[in-house]
């Protein structure tokens, strides 16, 4: 099943690699990547479409939230188009 993740990211050294590397290492295939840092706030925004035959997207979301450069992860709920909002930084 395909999922879309939207991330806002602190533009730090290696942040993009860290995110992409984590997604692939945790057993997901990336089918689309979009990254944009051209906005006035200089923040990095990423959108990832990922698929996995077996792994849980919720776990991937929590693994991404643990990255220190990642400010926020939204999981585009494929059924209802609703966003799940992250409450607090993972410990």
């Amino acid at each position: 099943m395909k999922h879309t993740l939207k991330l806002s990211v602190q533009p730090a050294e290696g942040a993009i690699l860290r995110i992409i590397g984590l997604v692939e290492r945790r057993g997901f295939n990336l089918v689309r990547i979009d990254a944009d840092r051209s906005g006035a706030d200089e923040q990095l925004y990423m959108e990832l479409d990922v698929v996995s035959p077996s792994r849980s997207i919720d776990v991937l979301k929590r693994q991404l939230e643990k990255l220190y450069d990642v400010i926020n992860v939204l999981l585009l709920n494929t059924n209802s188009d609703q966003f799940e909002i992250k409450e607090s930084k993972a410990c």
Binding site: G14, G21, E65, K66, C91
Partner: protein, 549 residues
């Protein structure tokens, strides 16, 4: 002040006392700054030894271990130690020298992208491009390494940044953030599951020691009366001689512990992560049980086994808030205890040769309460877990997640430097000791009173056992009959050593090992055919344990 001096000052500000490392070109400014600092630098003889010693120091003291190395090969030599800390959630800060920023990306001498190489095995990493960032980066590195679920943090320091002048000052450590706790609704859902359980089991994991939650765990276990099983890294969370302790679970666990989990109707997972060595075949693990999962790391919940209730946050605080079950666990406890007694190991193996499990047990019986065991990896590591008395998890240092041969001696060095008054014993094998044999020089250099028990079966025993059991006995590259004379090896490093060949020599050997002043090595010959029993074959359920034929 230059960048290197600022780094050293910031380390002191963090309360660092000992750093483990090895110098070289790119990190020379930091080594120069060490001259004028209060830091004690321990020179290992290979950067892997530095990283693993920092890891052992952290495990034995609960403080963040620090290691450093130069660029290129210095950094790559650290990698195994960093990965080891990552796999076992050990707080560590690793500092690597890097070529000057104008040279980075030009394939210059001793340039390696250590930031990139270590990315999958660090909790976080920094590349210091600006000297003004040093105070913030050091503060952040120590905070990240130790908070929540700890882990290693790498700081890559280019040489031009290290020599740049600055008037910045170290940042003072701020107050610790209040520990996070699970919400009351989750606690009451967990309490509800506990109320309705008939056969609950506490599944203790390495997170208990990491979170400093041993006391809270013991209080909860004792007031609830629930039987306890432990992973390799949680041994000692309840003393292994405690009446409620049923055993280690998993591949080389006890039948009683595995049965307790298989029959449980509620599994209370405390800081464990359903590792495959503990669970065996996952879909056959605890098939009847609901799961309460306590962890500091939200990403562990439902990663491998779906939790019915997740209690996220500080383990001590969680355990203190969880009501003890108001149920009668006595009949269930009695059943678990009965099984434990039925599968007690025997120590009366036939023959005259040294029986390693018996020797290890006698060693921990003879040693005092202040014993710290640092293990290497292989059969001897499992025998320690199965047969030694372990009273606290921070007294049993073992490479659980990565299974790094060569961990034992450096870990013992770190543990001894962190606990000068404790008795540190390194249990190693003839394969493992050679992985970091050069650290005998470190033990000698600082005259660390480490006792080394080398169990020599003239082979890579654990691999030999698997080849015998699962590859039709086709032995491939496991015989080590050309080992050096280990007594002479130790002596040539300035460490007294002696040989033990027969069972009747064991009591005197233990006495000599524990009571020799300074470092000493006992080279013990054991049966090359001895196996670790029982065993759950790889990929099988924990209900299918193989016993000795």
């Amino acid at each position: 002040m230059n960048g290197a001096q600022l780094i050293v000052a910031a380390l002191e500000e963090e309360g660092v006392e000992v750093v483990f490392g090895y110098p070289g070109g790119a990190i020379m400014p930091v080594y120069d700054a060490l001259h004028d600092s209060g830091l004690r630098h321990i020179l290992s003889r290979h950067e892997q030894g530095s990283a693993l010693a920092a890891d052992g120091y952290a495990r034995a003291t609960g403080r963040t271990g620090v290691c450093m190395a130069t660029s290129g090969p210095g950094g790559t030599n650290l990698v195994t130690g960093i990965a080891n800390a990552y796999a076992d959630s050990v707080p560590m800060v690793a500092i690597t020298g890097q070529v000057a920023t104008p040279l980075m990306g030009t394939d210059s001498f001793q340039e390696v992208d250590i930031f990139g190489i270590t990315m999958p095995v660090v909790k976080h990493s920094f590349l210091l491009r600006d000297v003004a960032d040093i105070p913030r980066v050091i503060r952040e590195a120590f905070r990240i390494a130790s908070e929540g679920r700890p882990g290693p943090v790498l700081i890559d320091l280019p040489k031009d940044v290290a020599v740049a002048e600055t008037d910045a000052h170290p940042l003072l450590a701020g107050p610790q953030p209040a520990p996070k706790l699970p919400d009351a609704a989750a606690i009451s859902r967990a309490a509800e599951l506990l109320r309705n359980a008939e056969r609950p089991v506490l599944y203790a994991g390495g997170g208990i020691a990491i979170a400093g939650a041993v006391d809270a765990f013991r209080r909860y276990a004792e007031t609830s009366g629930i039987p306890v099983v432990a992973t390799l890294k949680a041994l000692g969370a309840l003393p292994t001689r405690h009446e409620q302790f049923i055993g280690m679970l998993g591949m080389h666990g006890t039948r009683a512990a595995n049965n307790a989990v298989q029959n449980a109707d509620l599994l209370v997972c405390v800081g464990a992560r359903f590792d495959d060595r503990a669970t065996g075949r996952l879909d056959g693990f605890a098939p009847l049980a609901k799961v309460i999962h306590m962890d500091a790391d939200p990403a562990e919940v439902s990663k491998l086994r779906v939790a019915d209730v997740a209690l996220l946050g500080d383990l001590s605080g969680t355990l203190e808030r969880l009501p003890a079950a108001e149920i009668d666990v006595d009949p269930w406890m009695a059943q678990c205890e009965r099984e434990r007694e039925e599968c007690r190991p025997r120590y009366d193996a036939p023959g005259e040769g040294v029986y390693a499990p018996a020797m290890l047990r006698e060693l921990t019986e003879a040693a005092g309460d202040d014993l710290v065991l640092a293990c290497d990896v292989g059969q001897h590591q499992m025998w320690v877990a199965q047969h030694c008395h372990i009273d606290r998890p921070d007294r049993h240092l073992t490479s659980g997640g990565l299974g790094t041969m060569g961990f034992g001696m450096p870990a013992a060095i770190g543990a001894q430097l962190g606990n000068p008054d404790k008795q540190v014993v390194c249990i190693t094998g003839d394969g493992s000791i050679m992985m970091n044999v050069q650290e005998l020089a470190t033990i000698n250099r600082y005259r660390l009173p480490i006792k080394i028990l080398l169990l020599d079966n003239s082979c890579l025993g654990m691999v030999r056992q698997w080849q015998d059991l699962f590859f039709d006995g086709r032995r491939s590259e496991v015989e080590l009959d050309d080992n050096p004379d280990f007594v002479r090896v130790a002596e040539s490093f300035g460490i007294p050593a002696f040989c033990v060949e027969r069972r009747d020599e064991v009591p005197a050997a233990i006495d000599r090992l524990l009571n020799t002043e300074g470092p000493v090595l006992a080279h013990v010959r054991i049966d090359p055919q001895a196996n670790v029993w029982p065993l759950v074959p790889p990929g099988k359920s924990n209900s299918t344990m193989m016993e000795e034929a």
